[in-house]
Every structure is written in structure tokens, then in C-alpha cells.
């Protein structure tokens, strides 16, 4: 008895919310997307989506924000959303980075999640603006079949919609899906659909109402290693003696099809220049298979896990290195010093599910804080190390779902009372 009632309730709720939504859609301003072009890059295991939106203000009042919508299944895997506004035309185009923040809108249909882009200048009535949106998805390729043999290649599923999900009316839209090779097993057709080489073109589609959705499934070959760091703890220890000691604890997993697909044995870590005393070990000792190449601009550490990582296998290890402190420590006014360090994972082309950065400040530092260009969780800890009496203050930064796009600098501000 309970089941049908619930279903009916849900249906009623949806209908109600849709009705309600239509009635209050003016809150989203009367914006209109005259043209949307989406390019989905599936060549690695990090899905990169470039979305070009031409937004038009069809209402009467100026609009200062544009809302992006994502289906709930994608939001969990969303690593980063960036938006740029283009100015000027043709060769003189310049890009302005816009602020993007997740927002909650009431009565979102089907649990749609939103991100709001805050425009630099309000969009006046009848004006239009071109926005470039880049977002990255992790864990969005599902290996199918889940278990494969050694000689077979890995096939994966990618699920999305042929239509761009948007709270606005879209006049015209096209979606391009780029696969790593021409080997595409199957893909959903939503006419007009074209496939040429490594590209599948959906559209152009004309005039779709808000929240239009048309599920598609692409089954294609992707043999790139699915290197996923489940957890990475980077500890940056600042020493009074001119050294910056970095210790990085990795929990690496090959998230590809189970068992047979081999991870390329080598992983490449980009480290800052002038790195010294590098070590690479795990809980039971040193791992002898690593090479370090250094030049004046960067250092490259080539590491090999203890054993080749087949799909589903895990490995944990620690990389540690020292850096000269003067490369990273800067002085600002009022006796404050700050450390400028890279956020993100030094391993190339990896997804980090959970990244923790611990900045261990010298003993006696007061009121530290960190400035990071994107939202992270922050808190303070105390750590005891060699010859410590009161313990060192540790600024802990935590972020989930980190992709190489997050490798920007952040500042930890510390105060030295001397």
C-alpha cells in the first residue's frame, strides 16, 4: 500500500514544484541562452567539459548572476568549476575570471544542484555576454565490463545528457564528445547525431525549455591509466634553519577495470626546483625504483610502485623532500611572513579524492591563516617534533576531489614575533 501512495505523492510534489518553479522563475531573471556549445573531453580519466554560453538578458532589469545547473549524479564528481567572461571580439578577446560559488535554490527539480556565476558588471536588458565555463568530473567513467583479461582493452561507460541542463531557455545548442580513440562501441543517438573520427556531435538542437534532459550513454575504449589517489596528506614543515620539508603520503589506487589492465609502471611527480634529499618509501621500507631529474625550472621524480598496479590494486607510499626555504618564504608588512606553496598533487594526471595539506609552522608562530583561491576546509592542529616544548602550530587544509587544475599557489600567513 505504501509504495503507490509514495509514488503518487512524489509525482504530485514534482508537478507542484514545477508549477511553483514556473511561477517564480523570474527570480532567476529572464535570461536566455542564445547559443550553447559544449565540448566534452573523454581522453583521460578526468572528464573535462568546456561550455561556451552566450547569455542574453531578455528581461527588463539588469542581471548580475548566471546560474549553472548540474544533475545530482555529476555534482558529487565535480572537481572544479571555472568561469571566464570574454570581452572584445576576435583577436582582441580578453578573458576575465569570474567568481563561481555553489548555491542552493529552493524547489530545484530532481535535486538539481546549482552554481552561480557572479558577473563582473551587471548584464543590462537586451545585452548579451559570452561565458566560457570549464568544469572537470572525476570518477565518471565506469569500466564495463568490470573485469577484463590481460590482452583486452578497457571499455568504459560515460553517461550524460545530450542537452545542456540549464534553468534557462536555450535557443540553440551543440555538444561535442571527444573520445580517446576511434573505437567507440556504442552511443545513444539523439538525432541529429554525427560521428566523425574521434568526435561525436550531438545537435544542433533548437529551442529547448529549461531543465530539458536527454540521457545518453557512450561506451568507448579508454586505456589511459586510471590513477586515483584516494587520500593524499601533504605535510609542509617550515624550519627555522632554512629548510622546507615536504612529506607526502599517498594512497594510490588503480580505478580501472578490475584485475588485468596494467598501470604504466612509472608515475611522474613534478616537484619544485632545487629539491634535495628526496626519499620514496612505504610502511615497510625504502622503494628502490625511482629516478630524479632536476633542472633549473623544475624537478621530475619518476617513481614506480613496488609492484605493477593492475586494475583495482592499491599501493601506499610516502614521498619526502627538502626545499630551500627562501624560495617559498616571503615577508609582508607588519612583521608578517607568508609561505607560498602549491596546492594539489604533484603526480601528473591524477585525481585526488581527498587532499589534506598540513603546514607545520615553526614553534611559537601565532595566528596563522591560509589564503587559497578556492573553498577549502581549514582548521588548526598542534604537532610535536624534535625538541618541541609547546608544539608547532599546524594549519590544516582539506579539500575533496582535487584535479591537476587545482595546482595553484596558496599562501599560509604566519606571524613571527621576533
Amino acid at each position: 500500500m505504501e509504495g503507490p501512495i509514495r509514488a503518487r505523492e512524489a509525482l504530485a510534489l514534482t508537478l507542484f514544484s514545477l508549477l511553483f518553479f514556473l511561477s517564480r522563475s523570474s527570480a532567476l531573471h529572464d535570461l536566455l541562452i542564445s547559443n550553447a556549445e559544449r565540448r566534452i573531453d573523454l581522453s583521460s580519466h578526468i572528464v573535462k567539459v568546456y561550455l561556451t554560453l552566450k547569455v542574453e538578458n531578455a528581461g527588463s532589469s539588469p542581471a548580475s548572476e548566471v546560474v549553472l545547473a548540474f544533475p545530482p549524479s555529476q555534482v558529487d564528481h565535480l572537481a572544479t568549476v571555472e568561469a571566464l567572461a570574454t570581452k572584445g571580439k576576435r583577436k582582441k578577446t580578453t578573458f576575465v575570471r569570474l567568481e563561481v560559488k555553489p548555491t542552493e535554490l529552493p524547489d530545484a527539480p530532481n535535486d538539481t544542484k546549482y552554481f552561480t556565476i557572479y558577473l563582473a558588471n551587471p548584464l543590462n536588458s537586451a545585452e548579451s555576454i559570452t561565458l566560457e565555463v570549464l568544469y572537470m568530473l572525476t570518477h565518471s567513467l565506469e569500466p564495463f565490463p568490470a573485469e577484463i583479461g590481460q590482452s583486452e582493452s578497457q571499455l568504459v561507460y560515460y553517461r550524460d545528457s545530450a542537452l545542456v541542463l540549464s534553468p534557462y531557455h536555450i535557443k540553440q545548442q551543440t555538444t561535442f564528445i571527444k573520445t580517446p580513440s576511434t573505437k567507440v562501441d556504442s552511443f545513444t543517438r539523439v538525432e541529429p547525431t554525427n560521428r566523425a573520427g574521434t568526435e561525436i556531435k550531438y545537435g544542433p538542437y533548437e529551442d529547448h525549455t529549461p531543465y530539458s534532459f536527454s540521457a545518453i550513454l557512450v561506451h568507448f575504449e579508454n586505456n589511459s591509466p586510471f590513477a586515483v589517489v584516494e587520500e593524499l596528506v601533504r605535510e609542509v614543515e617550515i624550519s627555522h634553519w632554512g629548510n622546507l620539508q615536504v612529506t607526502e603520503q599517498y594512497k594510490l589506487v588503480h580505478a580501472g577495470a578490475r584485475h588485468k589492465g596494467v598501470f604504466s609502471r612509472y608515475l611522474l611527480a613534478r616537484l619544485p626546483p632545487r629539491v634535495h634529499s628526496v626519499y620514496y618509501r612505504d610502511e615497510i621500507g625504502n622503494i628502490s625504483s625511482s629516478h630524479l631529474r632536476t633542472d633549473s625550472r623544475k624537478s621530475e621524480l619518476e617513481i614506480e610502485p613496488r609492484y605493477p598496479l593492475f586494475g583495482g590494486w592499491k599501493a601506499t607510499f610516502v614521498i619526502g623532500y627538502g626545499l630551500p626555504l627562501q624560495d617559498f618564504l616571503f615577508e609582508s608588512s607588519e612583521d608578517r611572513r607568508y609561505v607560498n606553496f602549491t596546492f594539489g598533487c604533484p603526480l601528473m594526471e591524477t585525481v585526488v579524492d581527498k587532499l589534506t595539506i598540513k603546514v607545520v609552522l615553526p614553534e611559537g608562530s601565532k595566528d596563522p591563516s591560509a589564503v587559497v583561491p578556492f573553498p577549502v576546509d581549514q582548521h588548526l592542529e598542534t604537532k610535536y617534533s624534535y625538541l618541541d616544548v609547546v608544539g608547532r602550530t599546524v594549519v590544516v587544509l582539506e579539500k575533496k576531489n582535487v584535479v591537476p587544475g587545482h595546482n595553484s599557489h596558496f599562501q599560509a600567513v604566519l606571524f613571527c614575533p621576533n
Binding site: G285, W313, D388
Partner: protein, 718 residues
């Protein structure tokens, strides 16, 4: 000579001779202390700071547990990760001395704000205690001879390979602290005998307690000391000092030792400890007789009384022992003890003891390897000891002779003999050098006294300079001094060479020379263990031969069926039986033990010779010892063990053979050889077409040294 040099240097300080001597002595001791430590660091510098071999991994794991969970949890720890499904009561079956020592050092360092990892503490515990042993050797040498002999003893023991073999950095084993404890206890006891002081007796009781807590070798102390006391009694050297020292040491030491759960009431219940108790009662009888003799002035009466008392005492003792034995209150001697007294015993009766390489009788070459010139200096030292017989020298002579006998029975007991050999040799060196220098430095007028002494001892030790006229005597002494110097420097280079070449490899990481002279590292063990740790379910049970049990639990963090604590012979025999059965029979056994993974060590690709195929006959023997189904001749052809085409059919199809050589027939290991050429045994294998029915290959390391197989679940019946 050295004092002359230093007196030149130190002129401005104007030290008195005695102060100079003290300064030199202290600085030599400091240098020796440092030397003993750093000569053991080869493995850390060449490989890394890591735990070596097999047993140390268990010790490391328990120490880790101790530091993480505290002493009480450690003491009451029931380990379900080993000896599945039996488990092991860790607190009651180990000697906790080493772990507690390391944990205390760790706590102390952390209290002093040194944030070291417990692994570093464990790695460096053995060298640290070796350094302390040199100090004890100095004081011991000083006690039995003079400070010169003490210094020489400290230097000799600091670098002696017999000791280094068990105390390099990373060999975190009981012996590392136990040799220190052993020598320390002996020193304190000798000191107590020499002084008759209750304080020293008490100290030796505590030393004994530490030794009991650290190593099963304490049985040596509890038998040697009564034997020594007995010898003193027989030779008429009974004294009040001896009475005080022995009684205090025995009673308190026994009570303290009972606090160690693993030892428990053995001091009063086990046959191995009965000698000490017998001597204890004998002492009382002796004392009583002494008192009676003192009271009775009549010798005839006393003789009669003596007869009655001695007969009575012996009779009571014999009856008590007999009743104890029969009623089972006193346990008979254990197999290990028997195998010490009778070297052939283990071979016939306990294959599990005989299968361990360090329990083999010692070859002459390893004596030479481990002692070098000490082997020649030892008899010379004995001569000096006999020449100046005292309570202390009798002790060191007895210690030397008994331990040397045991060293001959078992390779690993060379370790116990090393301190004695070093001390006695130090006496020889010190006495010879002293006599020679006295001869050299003596002006003509002193020649009469010094020279006669000097030549005689010089003769005894080197047999080179015979009676010569005065002018040549000095030259002869000079030559002998140079000879001694040459020998000692040879000793130093030999020790360093042995340490660097033979005793500093962790055995868990193998190093070899590549084709171009570069160093190739085989890190397969850790590769496999880490794979187990990361990619198998946390409750997976791993079956392997017992050698690898400790390493799998410590590094792989997985449950094992048997490990190096060979307490249950039947369980080990079951594993041996599984390994030597056909696959379907083995599958039944493995199912009954809930085995999920089977791990074998295989050297056929790399030519690593201590692999499971070479150990296989021991598995057959141990398995066959309990299960008569397994018969050794089934695996041999005309008494010959082979793996090629001519091998026995049972051999070619047993589980161990299959697991070792699975898919090996496809592999070309050496250029110009047929595929399936086993480099460890130098033959082409006999069964190249191996099919596995109930197992599947799960992981093989890069050099094939460790191979892990997964036991498949049973087939569906329908």
C-alpha cells in the same frame, strides 16, 4: 709508549702519571664505545635503516604493539594473526626484555623531545647494547686480570665477528641485548664472589633477571654458575664470599625470574634448572658441616658425622628428584637441551630443530671466520689463567671451555662463546705485551727480575724467542711486539671485512652484481608482502612454510598458519603435509585450515638457492614425522633429490613443485638454455605442463622470488 707520546702533548697540563693513565684509559674506552657502534652500521649505510632476517620482524611487531597499546595490553596480548586457528598468547610465550628495553629507550627519547620513529630505535638497539658490552668487558677484564686486559678485551669484543653477526644495526633480536645481559650478570657475580658483598650479589640477581627476561639462553647462566660453585667447592676454594654471592644470586634471581610469564615456575619444576637447586642445597650442607666442624673439635667424630650427613643429604636429594620426576612435577629435559648435550640427538628425533641452519654443528672454518686470531690466543690465555689461578680466573676458564663446547655443537652459540674467548685472549695479549714492554723499558739493572718473567711468558705465547743472551733479548721482544701488533691489525682488518661482507646484509633485500658490475637489488620479498598488505582482504589467511611467518605478519599484516615460533610441531607438520601432497589432497587440508592464499619462495629465475624447493625435504621429513602418509623415499630417486625429468613422480606432482614451477616451463631464464631451466639447481625442470585446479596465480614478484596463489572457493555442486 703511548703514555710517552701523550705526556709530550699534555706537558702544559702537567698531569700526574696516574691521571695521564686514567685519561688515556677513558679516551680509549670512549673510542672503543664509538667504534663498536659504528662498525655495526654497514647495513644501514649500504641498504637502509631496516629490520633484518626473520625473528627480528616479530620482535619489531611486538615492540610496535607495546609502544602503541601500552604494557598491559602487550602482556595480555592474544595474537590471532598467527598460528591460525590456534592463535598465540604473546605475553606468555616471549621473552619481553628486548621489547621493553626498546620501548623504554623510545619513551626516554620522546621525553627528551626526540621525535624518532620506533623503527630507528629498534634498528639501533643492538649496536647500542654492543657498545655497552664493551664497557662491561672492560670491567670484567679488569676484575679477572687487570685494567690492561680489560682494555684489550673491550677492543677485541667491539669488533669480534662472532658477536657482530648478531648485533649489526637492524638485527633486532634477543641476542642483541642478551649478550650484554649475560656478560653483565657474570661480571656482577664474579664481583660478588670476589668481594663477598651482598650488594654485588643483589646486583647480579637483577642482572640475571634482565637476562631471563631477554633470552632463553639464561639456562646457560643457571647451569654454569652452579657448576662453577661446585668446582670451587671441590677444589677447596669454598669461602663465605662464595656462600653469600651464590645464595643471594640464586634465591633472588629465581624469584625475580618467576615474574617472567614465559619462564614461570620452571626454576623449581624443570630438569634444566635442578642443578642450580642441588648446588644450593649442597652449599647449605657445606655450611652446616663447616659449622659442625667448628663446634666439634674431635676429628674422628666429625668424620663419622660427615659420612652420615653426606649420605643422608645425597639420598634425600636423589629421592626428591626421583619422586619429582616420576610424579611429573619436575619436567624432563627438553629436546633442545638434549641436542646441546648430544649433537646427534636432534637429527634423529626432532627434525624441526635440525632443519634450522643456525642449529647445525659448527664447521672449523666458521670458528676461524668468527674468531680469527682469538682462536690461537685463547689457549695462550688459558695458560695465563692457570698460571695465576684465582676465583675469577677459574670462572672465566670454565665459561670459556663450556661455551666453546656449545659453540661447537651449534653455530649460533658461537655468540655465547665470543665474550669468553675475547676475555681470555685479552689476557693473553695484555700479559704478553706487558711482559715484553717491561723487558724493553727495563734498564740493565732491572733486567734480572723483569726479563726472566718476560721471556718465559713470551715463550709461552709465541714459542719464538728461546733462551738467548741478553743483547738479543731486547730485539726479540721488539720483534715479538711487532708480531703482536701485526696480528692484531690483521684481526682488525679481518673483522671489518667479515662485518662488511658477511654480516651486514639484511637478507630481506638481496643484492647482486649485475652484468656491468653495477649493484642489482632484488626487493621481491617486500614487494610480495606489501602486495599482500594492500590487495588482499584484511582477514585473509596465508599459508607458507614457517620461515616466512613472522615476515608475513609483520610486513604483510595478514594472518598466517605457522610462523617462526615453532611451538606446535603438528601444525607445522600439517603445512608440510599440504605442501608435499597432491593438489586435491592439499586442497582438502587447506580448506580445513581456511587458507586463502599460499605463498612460496622460488629461486629458479634468479638462482637464489635458499628457496622452498631446497627446503622441501625438510617439509617432507617434518610432515612425515607426524603423518606417516608422507614418506621421504617417495620424493627421492635412488636416495637422490632431483627436480628434472628423472625426478620421482610424486615429487613432480606435489603441491610445492607445482606452485614453484607453475608456468615456469614457458620462461627462458638463461641465454642458450632450454625454457624452464632452473638456475638455482642448474637443471631443466621435469614437469613443464603444470595445470592448477584448485588454486590460481594471484601475484608473482618481478624476479619470481615470491609467488602467491589464491585458493579458489569450492566448485558449485550443481
Amino acid at each position: 709508549m703511548s703514555s710517552m707520546i701523550s705526556s709530550d702533548l699534555l706537558k702544559p697540563f702537567k698531569l700526574k702519571t696516574k691521571q695521564q693513565e686514567l685519561l688515556i684509559r677513558v679516551s680509549i674506552l670512549c673510542l672503543v664505545y664509538i667504534l663498536a657502534f659504528i662498525t655495526r652500521l654497514f647495513s644501514v649505510l649500504r641498504y637502509e635503516s631496516m629490520i633484518h632476517e626473520f625473528d627480528p620482524y616479530f620482535n619489531y611487531r611486538t615492540t610496535l604493539y607495546l609502544t602503541q597499546n601500552g604494557f598491559y595490553d602487550f602482556w595480555n596480548w592474544f595474537d590471532s594473526e598467527s598460528w591460525y586457528p590456534l592463535g598465540r598468547i604473546i605475553g606468555g610465550t616471549l621473552y619481553p626484555g628486548l621489547m621493553v628495553t626498546a620501548a623504554l629507550i623510545y619513551r626516554l627519547l620522546h621525553f627528551l623531545r626526540f621525535a624518532v620513529h620506533i623503527r630507528e630505535v629498534c634498528v639501533l638497539t643492538a649496536p647500542f647494547f654492543a657498545s655497552n658490552t664493551t664497557l662491561v668487558a672492560y670491567f670484567f677484564g679488569k676484575e679477572i686480570w687487570d685494567s690492561g686486559a680489560g682494555l684489550v678485551a673491550a677492543i677485541l669484543i667491539a669488533v669480534c665477528p662472532g658477536y657482530i653477526s648478531r648485533s649489526v644495526a637492524g638485527s633486532y633480536d634477543n641476542e642483541g641485548v642478551a649478550i650484554f645481559a649475560l656478560l653483565f650478570t657474570f661480571y656482577l657475580f664474579v664481583k660478588a664472589v670476589n668481594t663477598g658483598s651482598l650488594a654485588w650479589g643483589l646486583a647480579s640477581a637483577f642482572g640475571y633477571f634482565y637476562m631471563v627476561s631477554a633470552w632463553g639462553g639464561y639456562v646457560f647462566i643457571i647451569n654454569l654458575i652452579p657448576l662453577y660453585v661446585l668446582v670451587l667447592l671441590i677444589t677447596g676454594r669454598y669461602s663465605m664470599r662464595l656462600y653469600v654471592a651464590y645464595n643471594c644470586m640464586y634465591i633472588l634471581g629465581m624469584l625475580l625470574a618467576m615474574q617472567i610469564r614465559f619462564v614461570g615456575f620452571q626454576h623449581v619444576q624443570s630438569g634444566e634448572h635442578m642443578a642450580a637447586m642441588g648446588v644450593f642445597f649442597l652449599m647449605q650442607v657445606f655450611y652446616f658441616l663447616d659449622w659442625v666442624k667448628h663446634m666439634l673439635s674431635d676429628t674422628k667424630l666429625f668424620q663419622a658425622f660427615l659420612k652420615i650427613t653426606v649420605t643422608f643429604a645425597v639420598a634425600v636429594g636423589a629421592v626428591a628428584l626421583g619422586v619429582g620426576m616420576v610424579s611429573g612435577y619436575i619436567s624432563p629435559w627438553t629436546g633442545r637441551f638434549y641436542s646441546l648435550l648430544d649433537p646427534t640427538y636432534a637429527k634423529d628425533h626432532i627434525p624441526i630443530i635440525a632443519s634450522v641452519s643456525e642449529h647445525q654443528p659448527t664447521a672449523w672454518s666458521s670458528f676461524m671466520f668468527d674468531f680469527h686470531i682469538l682462536l690461537f690466543l685463547f689457549p695462550a690465555g688459558l695458560y695465563f689463567c692457570f698460571k695465576r689461578l684465582s676465583d675469577a680466573t677459574i670462572f672465566i676458564v670454565m665459561y670459556g671451555l663450556t661455551s666453546l663446547y656449545f659453540a661447537g655443537v651449534m653455530v649460533r652459540l658461537i655468540l655465547v662463546a665470543t665474550p669468553a674467548v675475547c676475555l681470555i685472549s685479552a689476557i693473553a695479549v695484555s700479559a704478553t705485551v706487558k711482559n715484553l714492554t717491561v723487558l724493553l723499558r727495563s734498564k740493565n739493572k732491572v733486567v734480572q727480575t723483569g726479563s726472566t718473567k718476560g721471556t718465559s711468558s713470551g715463550k709461552a705465547s709465541s714459542k719464538a724467542s728461546l733462551d738467548q743472551s741478553q743483547p738479543f733479548q731486547k730485539n726479540g721482544a721488539m720483534a715479538l711486539l711487532f708480531g703482536a701488533f701485526y696480528l692484531l691489525s690483521k684481526y682488525a682488518t679481518h673483522c671489518t671485512w667479515v662485518t662488511s661482507e658477511a654480516y651486514s646484509s639484511p637478507s630481506i633485500v638481496l643484492a647482486a652484481r649485475g652484468a656491468h658490475g653495477n649493484r642489482v637489488i632484488f626487493d621481491d620479498y617486500r614487494e610480495a608482502y606489501f602486495w599482500l598488505r594492500q590487495n588482499t582482504p584484511p582477514d585473509a589467511k596465508v599459508m607458507s612454510w614457517w620461515d616466512y611467518g613472522y615476515q608475513i605478519t609483520a610486513m604483510g599484516n595478514r594472518t598466517v598458519i605457522v610462523d617462526n615460533n615453532t611451538w606446535n610441531n603438528t601444525h607445522i607438520a600439517t603445512v608440510g603435509r599440504a605442501m608435499s601432497s597432491y593438489e586435491d589432497e592439499a586442497y582438502e587440508i587447506m580448506r580445513s585450515l581456511d587458507v586463502d592464499y599460499v605463498l612460496v619462495v622460488f629461486g629458479g629465475v634468479t638462482g637464489y638457492s635458499s628457496d622452498d624447493i631446497n627446503k622441501f625435504l625438510w617439509m617432507v621429513r617434518i610432515g612425515g614425522g607426524v603423518f606417516p602418509v608422507i614418506r621421504e623415499p617417495d620424493y627421492l630417486v635412488n636416495g637422490e633429490y632431483r627436480v628434472d625429468k628423472g625426478a620421482a613422480p610424486k615429487m613432480l606432482n606435489c603441491l610445492m613443485y607445482k606452485l614453484s614451477y607453475y608456468r615456469f616451463g614457458e620462461l627462458v631464464t638463461e641465454y642458450g638454455r632450454p625454457p624452464g631451466y632452473d638456475r638455482a639447481r642448474g637443471v631443466e625442470i621435469g614437469n613443464k605442463d603444470i595445470k592448477l585446479e584448485h588454486l590460481e596465480e594471484a601475484f608473482t614478484t618481478s624476479n619470481w622470488i615470491v609467488r602467491i596463489y589464491k585458493v579458489k572457493p569450492p566448485n558449485n555442486r550443481w
